[in-house]
Symmetry: D4
Subunit: 208 residues, 8 copies
Amino acid sequence: LRKGFPEVIFCQGKTVEQVAQIFYRLCQASEVNVMGTRATEVMYEAVKQLVPEAAYDSTARIIMRRRAQTYLHGLICVCSAGTADLPVAEEAALTCELMGNRVERVYDVGVAGLHRLLDRIAILRRANVIIVVAGMEGALPSVVGGLLDKPIIAVPTSVGYGAGFHGLAALLAMLNSCAAGVTVVNIDNGFGAAYAAGLINKLAGDQH
Amino acid sequence: LRKGFPEVIFCQGKTVEQVAQIFYRLCQASEVNVMGTRATEVMYEAVKQLVPEAAYDSTARIIMRRRAQTYLHGLICVCSAGTADLPVAEEAALTCELMGNRVERVYDVGVAGLHRLLDRIAILRRANVIIVVAGMEGALPSVVGGLLDKPIIAVPTSVGYGAGFHGLAALLAMLNSCAAGVTVVNIDNGFGAAYAAGLINKLAGDQH
Amino acid sequence: LRKGFPEVIFCQGKTVEQVAQIFYRLCQASEVNVMGTRATEVMYEAVKQLVPEAAYDSTARIIMRRRAQTYLHGLICVCSAGTADLPVAEEAALTCELMGNRVERVYDVGVAGLHRLLDRIAILRRANVIIVVAGMEGALPSVVGGLLDKPIIAVPTSVGYGAGFHGLAALLAMLNSCAAGVTVVNIDNGFGAAYAAGLINKLAGDQH
Amino acid sequence: LRKGFPEVIFCQGKTVEQVAQIFYRLCQASEVNVMGTRATEVMYEAVKQLVPEAAYDSTARIIMRRRAQTYLHGLICVCSAGTADLPVAEEAALTCELMGNRVERVYDVGVAGLHRLLDRIAILRRANVIIVVAGMEGALPSVVGGLLDKPIIAVPTSVGYGAGFHGLAALLAMLNSCAAGVTVVNIDNGFGAAYAAGLINKLAGDQH
Amino acid sequence: LRKGFPEVIFCQGKTVEQVAQIFYRLCQASEVNVMGTRATEVMYEAVKQLVPEAAYDSTARIIMRRRAQTYLHGLICVCSAGTADLPVAEEAALTCELMGNRVERVYDVGVAGLHRLLDRIAILRRANVIIVVAGMEGALPSVVGGLLDKPIIAVPTSVGYGAGFHGLAALLAMLNSCAAGVTVVNIDNGFGAAYAAGLINKLAGDQH
Amino acid sequence: LRKGFPEVIFCQGKTVEQVAQIFYRLCQASEVNVMGTRATEVMYEAVKQLVPEAAYDSTARIIMRRRAQTYLHGLICVCSAGTADLPVAEEAALTCELMGNRVERVYDVGVAGLHRLLDRIAILRRANVIIVVAGMEGALPSVVGGLLDKPIIAVPTSVGYGAGFHGLAALLAMLNSCAAGVTVVNIDNGFGAAYAAGLINKLAGDQH
Amino acid sequence: LRKGFPEVIFCQGKTVEQVAQIFYRLCQASEVNVMGTRATEVMYEAVKQLVPEAAYDSTARIIMRRRAQTYLHGLICVCSAGTADLPVAEEAALTCELMGNRVERVYDVGVAGLHRLLDRIAILRRANVIIVVAGMEGALPSVVGGLLDKPIIAVPTSVGYGAGFHGLAALLAMLNSCAAGVTVVNIDNGFGAAYAAGLINKLAGDQH
Amino acid sequence: LRKGFPEVIFCQGKTVEQVAQIFYRLCQASEVNVMGTRATEVMYEAVKQLVPEAAYDSTARIIMRRRAQTYLHGLICVCSAGTADLPVAEEAALTCELMGNRVERVYDVGVAGLHRLLDRIAILRRANVIIVVAGMEGALPSVVGGLLDKPIIAVPTSVGYGAGFHGLAALLAMLNSCAAGVTVVNIDNGFGAAYAAGLINKLAGDQH
Ligand SMILES: Nc1ncnc2c1ncn2[C@@H]1O[C@H](COP(=O)(O)O)[C@@H](O)[C@H]1O
Ligand SMILES: Nc1ncnc2c1ncn2[C@@H]1O[C@H](COP(=O)(O)O)[C@@H](O)[C@H]1O
Ligand SMILES: Nc1ncnc2c1ncn2[C@@H]1O[C@H](COP(=O)(O)O)[C@@H](O)[C@H]1O
Ligand SMILES: Nc1ncnc2c1ncn2[C@@H]1O[C@H](COP(=O)(O)O)[C@@H](O)[C@H]1O
Ligand SMILES: [Mg+2]
Ligand SMILES: [Mg+2]
Ligand SMILES: [Mg+2]
Ligand SMILES: [Mg+2]
Ligand SMILES: [Mg+2]
Ligand SMILES: [Mg+2]
Ligand SMILES: [Mg+2]
Ligand SMILES: [Mg+2]
């Protein structure tokens, strides 16, 4: 169905053996990129036994078998504010790349220091889609959405404490965003945001 | 900023006088479409005094002053399952049209009667973006998302009762959707879904 | 009271010693099947000291002492979508069997890949009752319920993350199911679903 | 699909005109029972214009066009504790009857006066399925389930106040029921409980 | 105790007669300002019978009997984004004034149009305390807090819909604000914010 | 103030050193009973170094230094249904005893097996107050309250899983109890229930 | 069972006719006090037709037919802080009286003005039980409980706004009370608090 | 921007290496105080390698590099009730000191023992701002706020159990406080409270 797209395994909740077997099987079956999200180091070790060319990104928690691929011309930006949001931001960014998108990372841009965000506005304007990842700065997608007229995909993260309620505060803030053009995915779902962004970027084609 | 886009007023929470004055002012100021969402019949009467050419769609609850406009080639589909979801679905569909998008309505397609949905698959495949509106059938975006490889924008509605908790059940179901490509907006936010869909359809340009 | 039914211990929250003692006592007291749900490997080791014929299913987390039993003619199907839902699905399936029901497992059938579900429709139609186990695919019971006119017992699982809220999203989705014929048990309660399904299958008797 | 079953309209959220038109259309199309749940008096008046033989039960809030029907031999009991729970209990009981089930009402049996429940135990034992409707007495299904080895379908109602949270307290109590054999439907969903009970009673056939 | 402060009545939940009597009694007892918050037009009419010099602000919903007063030199700013937030913003602003503070209103400054906020930065910088009132723009206090090094008192409002959950989303967003210096009061509590701001402004004395 | 009452330390959240020091100090300061609730084995070891006569009840998780005491004539009953509720039930029972009350334990009486409860009715009737401890059987206080005309203190426990929500389901069920005479304490608060029961039993004096 | 106690009808959720009929029937059947809680003026008019001697307290919302009764010697105090809490406080106080208890009302004693509470300490000390009713002052039972060594029954009310969440904030505050001796009933349940207080006062007998 | 203020790192969610590097960099870059909140012992060890003069407060969980500083004349009081609240109270107190404020700790003052609080009233009156830290005693800020006419910053803590819901009960209690002058920060956010208090104390200048 999804021609040219990577094969994906959601590793969380599966045993190490299940992950390794499924990963191996998918690699045998086709020549597209194969990736496993929410993967642990231990899962990677097991995969590597069966698929020696597999690599692991420990921040994004992704196991991957990459194949030569052509990239779309369109650009996706991934923004985030806090250091602790990086795993989710990187899950998004790396997934975008494995789907054949060019990605620009715009990190460490928080609402409390607006100038850092405004300094990066030029690169944001060049993107077809912007993914905004934030836990304690649930305000970020609103601000980004107010500056740009492009689709924004907001990813709340479970980073924070207390009344952050494991990402609920950020999720609600993003859903109530007044800035039109913002849509939202599940808490910590960097993969899902990337997948939707990739579909949009593909629609945008080569014209930008 | 948003060239060619309609001017929009969110009428809910404003007094009748405020709505009429702002609507009038926006009509004077430019020649784009002007629209007011969440508007009551009474607000419309007041607007009509000042802007005689204004029209009102009582299902979508939108007041509008339309101007001749050119339409994008790309198509947006709006799906819904239940009769009670129509106001939100129409808010989405009419907003899309006022933004210059061609819209196909695919209504009365529920999960409990899958064949009705499958019968409409051809038209769904022709769309660049699909907006799925559902209250008691929170499952619908997952099913649509599983059938298509296009961006899906899911709109939970407050329709339902009991453990629907005014749209919360549908919202959570949509956020947990396993089908990649689904993003979500606020409960009953047909406008926001349309706005994001319009941005995507514009990106897609004339190439489809 | 419950003639022919197994004796059941809910092991979670009991100490290893308590589990072993109660299991032993029940085995001494009668010749029906004896089973302990939510049992750990360690509990099993302790039980085995006292009841050497006891067996353990580590996926279903059930300790059991089985006796020769006669099976009802009627069939119960257990459906699930995700690999991580297997422990709950197996708790349901094995409990059904220990109660004397014939069981068919219909696993790996998700909403995002409808055809896999439709491919199994014949076996589902042969069942008197269908148990549907799902965490991230809360939509599954609605879809199954829409295809069949049999009682469906839906089991939400705590599998998932973020706005899944440990099974709450799936629970609410299932309660709001528009497809008539769906009833729901507690999150992760594979045992309870099986028990209710067993009572229904017994009512259905031998006539199917 | 559902041979012999009534055609059903969920009237809540539809306009009076929509209800009347749909009801009329269904009556023209077949000779089965036709029923509309959550219907107001005003809706009934509109239906009566088009379908003079239609009747209305104002407690159950059901509009119906009944046809001569044959009844199953098996019995369904509907239990409830409080006077304020009657609308939901009657929605359940009348739906059962319109589906061709014999129904026994066991009302005014609360947990605070156990003897009234125990006095009715004989009739409860004769049923194939028991529907238990309760708002402030969320404990009732547990008690009934402990006395009987039949499938129990629990319906929480929104009756109560304060920490009843519009049925949430009863819903949670019922889901946590330790008495095996209890399954649950949405708050106030008397129809859904009846539909599931009817499917079970049909399975049970004539053998009881 | 609170010398020079107005006497205050919280009118909501009191009968019209109770409000009028208490207001009258307080006016008789002293020569400070007397104010009643959350007051209806009808309450005002009753008060006016007994205290002819009383005035009413229908946006702020405050009844007041003002006395000549001296003003503190320090300034309090009240910011808000949406028209529907005005009643709460005005409750805050008018309370500040009745406590003897000079107030500057900085309205219609939203996150989606940052430049409007940045245009007003000079006046914000002159304030000792800034009250930020927002319902759908829960991000506003974070942004304001990031621009200034003054105490910010954030007031979430119940304005919005759906996943705004009557002010909960804004409340949580404000509590999670990363910008240090932000503290929060109850949803819609313009009075409480003003009272705290007044205490701070009084501490700041005449030195600014 | 509380003459004759034990001195109490809430150990949870304190360091081992803090517990030992406070316990020692209280023992030095008076000759009443001294007790520490929510205490770990490790805390007990540290206390024992300083207060050799201290004892530890590992089910109730209470460290105590007991003194000869006189007992009130009145009786307190502590009921519970499940084995996993024992720690809370024993926290209640032992606290009652350390306060000088005679206590009768009525354990393993669940709603699903009413007869076991009815078998113990005579002893329950002799009590001045009944403490009912339950997690998955939130219905138990309603049933006990319906059988007796004595004050009932209900203690929800965090035992259970899924929609038990760590005691919330039991808490809500108990608060909504229709049986008059039931009051409720915090989840798992066996101590608080005992303290209130002790105050009541003391009021009842010797006359029963 | 409950000798000498009034007969009680919970009128909320019953029709006017049901209330009148039940009230009449209970008056015919015995010579004890008869009372209906949560009754409207309209219900009272209907009752009066059938039971001319019935009276109505519009603050407590109680219909009653009183009979000469003897009073217990022991005293119950009912405390409350806010004017808006009076209906619940009076429901409690009047219920206590109809059960034969002497009652002292200690109203308008809030945490923000501690001295008013301390001024009434003598009367509070004379009571056997204290009922504390509070909505926005959820702290009150803790403070009262800290001053006295008597059983305290706390009644949260739905008075307040915003993050009061219709009584939830007060309920949680009361459940977490550190002052031992406090137990809690449902939000707004003045009747339930009175009933429990009455049972305790009866236990206390004439000895105080 | 914030002249004279310490540089701050929020260590939670960062890796040990990230913390050490950022701390080192900030120390190199300026001569102000540098502090890291929510820091573990292990993080401190890593920091010490790079910044030998760094110190660690294990109760407050703060790593700091202190520089000679001048103190403001104004006083900040930090109140708390329970031993388990000390880490948050100390996070607040030490942050205040590192910002150049004089701090008085008023610990072990609970609502259940009012006299201990009243004994300390003189020192509380001398403060410009009072920070009140409480988990199970959510009532404390109300009581303190009622005694003083100074800004109160309330910090709910996650200390407690059951219906404390990890600080939610305290948070809601504090937001509903009737005592004017109380504002609230996130659960466990001692740092944020201190920062806001510091801004206020700075405004108050030297005049007190
Ligand atoms: N991080 C993620 N979050 C949510 N869904 C995911 C994630 N990673 C993969 N998926 C989905 O999981 C599917 C594969 O899951 P599975 O069938 O369990 O191997 C993919 O096709 C994606 O749709
Ligand atoms: N996984 C489960 N979830 C909920 N209830 C269960 C489960 N397993 C067993 N039970 C119930 O727990 C009862 C035994 O509880 P116990 O006597 O505490 O071991 C059984 O009769 C079942 O009704
Ligand atoms: N305000 C109230 N809140 C809760 N329960 C009440 C209230 N008033 C009466 N009740 C209870 O309701 C029972 C009567 O219920 P009913 O038979 O439905 O009228 C009484 O015996 C009380 O236990
Ligand atoms: N305990 C804390 N809770 C919330 N925010 C904090 C805390 N400690 C520091 N911060 C904020 O976090 C900022 C630093 O964040 P970061 O750059 O991620 O280290 C500081 O400027 C503070 O505004
Ligand atoms: Mg935008
Ligand atoms: Mg798709
Ligand atoms: Mg079906
Ligand atoms: Mg049963
Ligand atoms: Mg700031
Ligand atoms: Mg009773
Ligand atoms: Mg006390
Ligand atoms: Mg104060």
